[in-house]
Symmetry: C2
Subunit: 326 residues, 2 copies
């Protein structure tokens, strides 16, 4: 199956990821052929497949290297990610994702809600078929719980003044970093890595997720719609206050508060003002610095892992990802 072009320079990884998509594809089997086709068209729409690749790479940490199982676990994680994205898009009212119309835009939010639910169940079918133990499965569903209660928290925090950097970090920790951590940990644990190695993998994934989300939130302010794959400053319009804005609020609260009170009525002029203030208060710069700190923490954890080709891949991909060369 077609994999994101960013993997073209890594044929080995590209093949693994193609197998991940193939396995997911095999598990999507809604009775109605039309519905089936729509779901497939939308979920195989060009995601970067970061969670599965981290999981697969980390399945080289332990001695029990079973590629089929590694691919199954990666497929379950990606399916879970797809399910949450579909529901996120309904909730955020996002009209495009990876440059394509979102499922709820083309098929309606009702369809998108059930399609997401369906993918949740597919995720568990894949896991229960391929995981090695019930304990591992329980771990996975608990992690999923945490991801989702993170979403509920984020929702609850909307349109309330961005409290603090700490509040932001706790939010992205539950929302993004959790799934990166689970991905690395699951790969490691399935390969029978030691507890210590699995913990290193978890920490590495957590830090990568933190850095990744901060970079993503920076891009929301400065990227081009085409490369980012979604409209610019979508977060502010949604009432989601991310790190660059929070930093700027800390040094210049008055001006921003007046603007932000308009919530969904923000004009494009207001948006430009917000962006200018953020730049002036070095909100982007400070955010980039924090992302760098998390990247360094991730690399430190990575260093502790056993040597092997997989580690070179881990390093290269993480560096490319977190400096956003792709």
């Amino acid at each position: 199956m077609q994999v994101h072009p960013m993997w073209d320079s890594y044929p080995e990884l590209r093949e693994d990821l193609s197998n991940v998509l193939e396995l997911i594809n095999k598990h999507i089997r809604v009775r109605d052929k039309n519905v089936n086709a729509i779901i497939k068209d939308r979920i195989f729409g060009g995601g970067k497949l970061l969670r599965p690749i981290y999981s697969i790479l980390c399945s080289n940490i332990g001695p029990d290297k079973d590629k089929d199982r590694a691919i199954a676990v990666a497929a379950a994680l990606e399916t879970l990610h797809m399910a949450t994205l579909i529901h996120d898009d309904v909730i955020d009212g996002a009209s495009t994702r990876h440059g394509k119309q979102t499922l709820h835009t083309s098929e309606g939010s009702k369809f998108a809600i059930y399609a997401g639910d369906y993918l949740f169940s597919v995720c568990f079918t894949i896991l229960s078929r391929h995981a090695t133990s019930l304990a591992h499965l329980e771990f996975n569903s608990r992690s999923m719980e945490k991801v989702l209660s993170g979403e509920l928290d984020q929702l609850n925090a909307r349109f309330q003044p961005p409290t603090s950097v700490k509040g932001y970090l706790s939010r992205i920790s539950g929302k993004t970093a959790q799934l990166f951590a689970v991905s690395c940990y699951s790969g490691a644990i399935e390969s029978k890595a030691t507890k210590k190695q699995a913990r290193n993998a978890w920490n590495m994934g957590h830090y990568i997720g933190m850095a990744f989300q901060i970079m993503d939130d920076i891009l929301d302010y400065q990227g081009q719609e085409q490369t980012v794959g979604k409209p610019i400053m979508a977060d502010v319009k949604q009432g989601i206050y991310t790190l660059p804005l929070i930093y700027a609020m800390q040094s210049n609260p008055k001006q921003l508060q007046t603007l932000l009170q308009k919530n969904e009525d923000l004009s494009s002029n207001d948006m430009e003002m917000i962006l200018a203030t953020i730049k002036q208060e070095k909100g982007l710069e400070k955010s980039r610095k924090l992302a760098e700190r998390y990247t360094n923490k991730a690399l430190k954890e990575m260093k502790k892992l056993p040597e092997g080709t997989y580690k070179d891949y881990l390093y290269t991909i993480t560096m490319k990802l977190l400096t956003r060369l792709f």
Copy 2:
């Protein structure tokens, strides 16, 4: 915990069900206390707990009677049911459920979507912690898949002319009967029932589910809002054509088609006309007859199960339920 008053005459079952709710309650632990309280308030809002009681009763079929495990499986099934109800209410725009405001009405549909997702993951956490094998778990998630692809099918069928009784039956088979069948089967299989017994339990659950859904659809036309717990003729307004209407369409298509073309613009006068036509064409009577046939099939399967007190309960509850004495 408070259990629906219909169980007051069965103290033993009421205690089991109270334990089911207690277990679910223990597993709901969203970080934000406020969010946690809202979810709990809404999901412990007076459901009849039919799926868990069938599962628990069927856990007496085999020789391995472990009450704690039976309660856990029942709790997982009820949590799954709750999750689908919350999403159903968002999708149907239902404003009340069991006489209480629905979650999406009071908290917004965004909240309700994530809360449903959260409950899906709780369902799997409970299952993976208490189920006896991965194979059983795979069976459960596959069943869940079928329930959800049933929902997708139903959605797809909306506002299209009700095709046939066959189409209706296939729809409710995926939507309601599936979960009743899974409930009975899961109880049986966890108690190490024979394959044949488990199949009987599955069939019994399936037939009960079919009869139950038909009765529910009849009540949508003739019940009182207070007893049914939701507005009357909500289905037609939603463009969902159920059995009484389909029967009436078959004998008097013209008059009904003209009315139904109005879709969401149906006036209360139109609704009265529809109801009168259904009654005149014996749509309710014919539906009741079909429900009776499924009830009899269920009783026939029930008869094949090993004797025991649980069987008396099964019989009494099924009869009460399917004649809608409660």
